[in-house]
Symmetry: D2
Subunit: 340 residues, 4 copies
C-alpha cells in the first residue's frame, strides 16, 4: 500500500535519530534544566533573527492550545477559518486550555481568510458585556487546504487584528513547508509580518514528537511554563524533545525535508491537472475525483482520505518528507491514466 494519508505517518529523519542517540549518554537534569533545552531560545532566536522565547512540547494540539490560552481570556473568542485544525481536529483543546473561550469560524477561501472577512467579523462583535469578546486571530501556515499566506497577506491580517486589540497566532504545523514554498526567510512570515505567537511544527516534517511555541515578544511568555506544566506537557526527560528541535533547525534539515515533500506534491498536482481543487503550495493536495476514479486509485494501492464531508467527491493527498519517489511516480502515472 502506498500511503498519502498524512505526513504524521512518516518516520523520523536520520538527523533527528542521530541527535536522540547522541543525547542518550548518562544523566541530565530533568524538566528542561538540561543543557540542550537551555539552547532552545538561542537556536530559535537565530532561526527567526529576533529575540524569542521558545518552548518545546510534544504535540501540535498542545502547542496551539497552550499558545492560544495565553492570548485569550475565558470570555474571549478566537477567530479562525472554518475547517481549521483548531475547530475540527483538536477535540475542543482550545476551549479546554483557555477555560472555555470560543472558537468563531470565519468564511475562508482555499483555507485563507481575507482582511475583509476579518473586518466584518470584528464589526459583528462590538464590545459588549453580553457576549464573548474577540481576543485573537489564528491562521495556519500552510493552511488546511495546502495553500500559504504570503507575507503581505499575513501583515494585512496582523494590522487589522492589532488595531482592534487582538493578537495574531499562527498554527505552523507545516510552517517549514510554507517557508519553503514562498522562498522567504522565517522572519518574513512571522514577526516581520506582525505574528505574535507561532506554533512551530517539526513532527510532520521529520521529528519523532516535537513542536515549539515561539513568542516573538518574550514578555508575553511569562506564564507559559506554568500552563505547560499544569497541562502535563512538560516532558520529564526534556533533553529528548529539545534535541529533536535543535537537530531540526541545524543544517537546514527543516528546509530540505519540506522542499522535498513540496516538490513531490507539486509534481502530483501537475499530473492531476484540472482535478486539483486548490493551488498546490505545500505538501498537501486536494483532488476532485469521480467515484470510478477514486476506486481506480484505491485498487492501484493508493491510500488517501476523503475530505469535505460525505459524498463531496473531494480527497486529500499528503506527501511526507520520506515519501518514496517511486510512490509519487506511480501516483502521477495513475492520475494521468484516469480518463480526462
Amino acid at each position: 500500500m502506498m500511503k498519502f494519508l498524512s505526513d504524521n505517518t512518516a518516520a523520523v529523519c536520520p538527523e533527528i535519530i542521530a541527535a536522540l542517540l547522541g543525547a542518550n549518554h548518562g544523566q541530565a537534569a530533568a524538566y528542561g534544566e538540561d543543557e540542550w533545552s537551555g539552547r532552545l531560545d538561542a537556536a530559535f532566536g537565530a532561526h527567526f533573527e529576533h529575540e524569542v522565547r521558545a518552548f518545546a512540547v510534544s504535540t501540535g494540539t498542545a502547542a496551539n492550545a497552550l499558545a492560544l490560552a495565553t492570548l485569550t481570556p475565558p470570555y474571549g473568542a478566537v477567530l479562525t477559518p472554518s475547517g481549521s485544525h483548531l475547530l475540527d481536529d483538536e477535540c475542543g483543546a482550545c476551549e479546554f486550555f483557555s477555560g472555555g473561550a470560543r472558537l468563531t469560524a470565519l468564511p475562508q477561501a482555499a483555507g485563507r481568510i481575507s482582511p475583509a472577512t476579518l473586518a466584518a467579523a470584528l464589526d459583528a462583535h462590538p464590545p459588549s458585556v453580553h457576549t464573548v469578546q474577540p481576543a485573537a486571530v489564528s491562521i495556519a501556515q500552510a493552511t488546511e487546504c495546502g495553500t500559504v499566506y504570503a507575507p503581505a497577506q499575513v501583515q494585512a491580517l496582523a494590522e487589522l487584528a492589532h488595531a482592534r486589540g487582538l493578537q495574531l497566532h499562527v498554527d505552523g504545523a507545516r510552517f517549514a513547508n510554507a517557508v519553503a514554498s514562498l522562498g522567504v526567510r522565517p522572519a518574513d512570515l512571522t514577526w516581520r509580518a506582525g505574528v505574535d505567537v507561532l506554533s512551530f511544527g517539526a513532527t510532520k516534517n521529520g521529528a519523532l514528537a516535537a513542536e515549539a511555541v515561539v513568542f516573538f515578544d518574550p514578555r508575553r511568555a511569562a506564564d507559559f511554563e506554568l500552563r505547560r506544566k499544569r497541562a502535563g506537557h512538560l516532558i520529564a526527560k526534556h533533553r529528548f524533545v529539545s534535541v529533536q528541535l535543535l537537530a531540526y533547525l541545524q543544517d537546514e534539515v527543516w528546509l530540505r525535508n519540506a522542499r522535498r515533500s513540496n516538490e513531490l506534491a507539486a509534481r502530483i498536482g501537475g499530473a492531476a491537472g484540472a482535478r486539483v481543487l486548490h493551488p498546490v503550495q505545500a505538501n498537501s493536495l486536494f483532488l476532485r475525483l469521480a467515484p470510478a476514479e477514486e476506486q481506480a486509485l484505491r485498487r492501484a494501492g493508493f491510500e488517501f482520505h476523503p475530505w469535505g464531508g460525505r459524498d463531496s467527491g473531494e480527497f486529500r493527498f499528503v506527501v511526507s518528507w520520506d515519501q518514496p519517489e517511486s510512490e509519487v511516480r506511480a501516483l502521477c502515472a495513475a492520475l494521468r491514466d484516469l480518463s480526462p
Copy 2:
C-alpha cells in the same frame, strides 16, 4: 558530579532504544491506529493477567490528571496524602483536567495513608450540597517517601473507598519499583487489591517518554480517548510511544531495571544507618543530615535535593536504573565516613 537528584535524569535503556529504532521504518498509521499501538491492550492485559484498557501518554502528570478526570466530577474531591506528587509537583493539573475538582490532603506517615485516616476524612465529608463531594482516593506506589503499600494495605483502602462510592487510583510513576520491592505480581498490587485505575510509569525506569493509564474495568475507559485528545496528549506518531511500552514490558525489562535501582538504594540505606528517615523500600531514600554533613557530601561531588521545606535538614537521594555502581559505592563510603 554524581547525580542522585531524580530518576528522571536517567538515560533511555538499550532495549527501548532498540525498539524505537526498530519501529522507524516507513509509514505507519498516525494517532494510535498503527500495529504497535493496537497491541497495547493485550500486552498490558498479559502483564496484569486481566482484561484492561491501556492508553499511552508521554508524561506522568498527564497520566494522573487524565485518569483522575475520568473518576471525579468537577464538584468532586480527590483524597490524597499530603506531600503527594499530585498536590505538590503537578501545578494543579488534576484541578485543570477535572474542571476544578479539589485535592484534599490527608495526613500520612512515611508517605502512606491508613484506613483510619481515610475513614476519618470521609466521615468529615458527609453528603451535602454545600461542599465538594469525595469521588476518588489517589495513592502512590512507591510513595513520595520511597515506601510501598503491601497488597493488603491497598486492599483495605480500596474496600473503604468502594464502600463509600469512591474509586481508587494509584499513581504508579514508580510502580515497577514497588512490585520489585514486594516480590509480588503486578496483579496483586492492582485489581486483585481493588485498584480501579493505574498510572503506570515507564519513563523514570528506562523509557524516553512513555506512561500508560490502565483501566481494570474497561467500561470506565469510555471517554478517555476524547479527554486525551482534547488535552493534546494523543501523540501523532503514536507508534513511538507504544513501542517504548511494549519493549518495557517484554522480557522483564521493567523488573530488571527496577530491581537494580532498588538494590542500590538499599545498599545506600545500609550505609546511611540511623540517618535514614523512612524504610528504604524502593529507589528513593531520605536522609537527615547536619549542615556539615550535607556540605561534606556536596564537596565530595554528590548532587541531591533538599526535602521537606527550608531548614528541615532532610534530603532526598534517588537512584536511577542506570546509576553507575561506582557512584553508589562512592556514596556509601562517603556516608560511612560521616562522623556517627
Copy 3:
C-alpha cells in the same frame, strides 16, 4: 419615552409582589429547605402533568447554562440555531458551566431549525476521537425571532436527537408566550413532545428574578443541586425565589400575562403590515424599516433595538406583560402613518 426594548424592562406583577410580601414573616430555613421551596416539585409536576424535578435560579443564563452542563460532557457539542440567546447573549456561559463544551450554530429560518438541518449537522459530526461530540440540541420557545415551534415540530427534533444519543433542551425564557400562542398544554410542548430539560422563564413575564430548570426525567437531575451551589446560584433566602414561581403558576398568572403581551404584539404586527419580517407568534416582533421610518418612530418617542447587525435595516420590538395599552395604540398608529 415608550419602551419596546425588552420584556426585561417590565415591572413585577402584583400577584408576585403579594407573594413576596406574604412570605416575609419571621424566620424560614435557608438554602431551599423552607416550606415554599419544598412545594416546587409538586407545583411544577401539576403544571406539566408529569413527575418532574424543578430547581429555582434567578437568571435565564444560569438556567440555560446549568441545564446544559448536565447534558453535555466538556468534550461535547451543543447544537443550537445561529443567533440563539446561548450563542449571542450569554457571554459564553454554556462553555463556562460545561467545562468548555462547544456551541455549534445551525442554520435557521425565522429562528427555527428543521429536522433536515439537524440531521445534516449530525451527519457532519460522526463519532471520532478527533473532534467534539454532539451531546445536546437546544432550541428556544418562543424563538429569538418571536416565532414558536408547534408540538409536532418539537417532536420531530426530539426523535432525531434521541436516535443519535443526544438530549433536547428548550430555552423557555418566553415559554409562557409560546404556550399561550399555540393554545396547547404545557405538557404538549415539553415531555409529550420529547423535551428532556426545560429552562422555564418567569422573569420576563412578570417575576422579579425567578426561573426554573425543569427535568422531565428526575434521574437526570441527580447532580444539579451541586452544580447550582458551585455556581453561586443557590439563593440563601430561597423562599423569596420559590414564592415567585409558585405565585406565577397559580391562578394562571403566567397565562394571563403572556396572552396579553402576545395579543398586543399581534396588534402591532397587524399595523406594521408588510414590514413584518417573521410571523408574530409571541410577544416580540421584527420589522424592516427604512432609515426615515426608523427616525420617524424614534422622534415619536418609541424605543427599540436594531437587530441583525449594523445597517441591516431590521429592528426588534418587544411587548411586556405590563405594556400600557396606550403605548401599543400609539405605536400602531405611528406604524400605519408610515408611507406604505
Copy 4:
C-alpha cells in the same frame, strides 16, 4: 421553635421592602442600565470614602468566587483559613470560577490567620514551575468563628501579601457586623488597611438577595462585568438588586441591623459564660455543650447547628437582625439554667 441556625433564615427588613416596592413602577432599562444601578458606584464610594467600582450580585458565593477569579490565574493558589466559607460551604465555587485555582488552607485560631502563619505558608510556596503559585489571600470579616480582625491585623496581612505580590480579598458576608463590632469606619477595615477587593454582604443583615463586590482599585475591575455575565449573575431586572443595596447603605440601615444582632449575641455570650469557645465579637457564637445540655436546649425549643465535626461537642448559634428579643431572653435564661 426558636431558630438560631443562621442569619440567612431572617426576613427582609422594612427599609429594603419599601425600596423594592418603590422601584416597581413602570419600565426600567435592563441588565444594570437603569438609574438605580447607575448610582451604585457613587453610593459605595461615599460609604467607603474612596473611589470604587461596586457590582451587585445575588449571592455571597457568587461575590466571593467572582472576586477571586479576578485575582488569581488558573494556576494560582488562594490562601485562606481552614474552615473558611470558601473552603467548606461553597461547593468548590472558587475553583470553578477561577478555572481550577487551588484553595490552600492555613492554620487559624478563632477563625483568624496570623502574619506569621501567612509568612510561613508563603515561604513554603517558593516560585516554581512545578506547583501552583500563591496569588491571593482571602480572610473573612467577621470570621467563621464570630471573631473580627482589627484594622491593624488586616494591615499586617495586607502588607505581607502585597510584599509577595499577592492581593488581599475580604469575604464580608458579615462585614456590617465587623464594622459595628469594632466601632470603626468602613474605610478603616478596607482600603486604609490594604484590602484590595471586598465581598460586601447585605443578605444576612436584612436584604432579600443582594451582595456587592467592591474594588478599591477601579482598574482591577476591568473584566468583572464579563465574568459576572458569563456566570449568569447579571440580573435582568437589575434595578431590584441595586435598590436593595442603596436602601441598605442609606440612613445606616446596615449599622442599625448589625448593632442589634451583635448586641443580642453578646448578651447570649454573657449568659453562656465559660461555655463560649471564641470571643463573641459579631452575631455568631460558639458554645461547648455536654450532650445533656444540648438536649435540654433543644427540648426547650431552640434550634442551632452542631459545628466542628461529629461528636466535637461544639455548637453554633447565630443571631439575626430580626431575632425576637423574647427568644434571646429565653435562650439566656436557658443557658443560665444549665448546671455550671
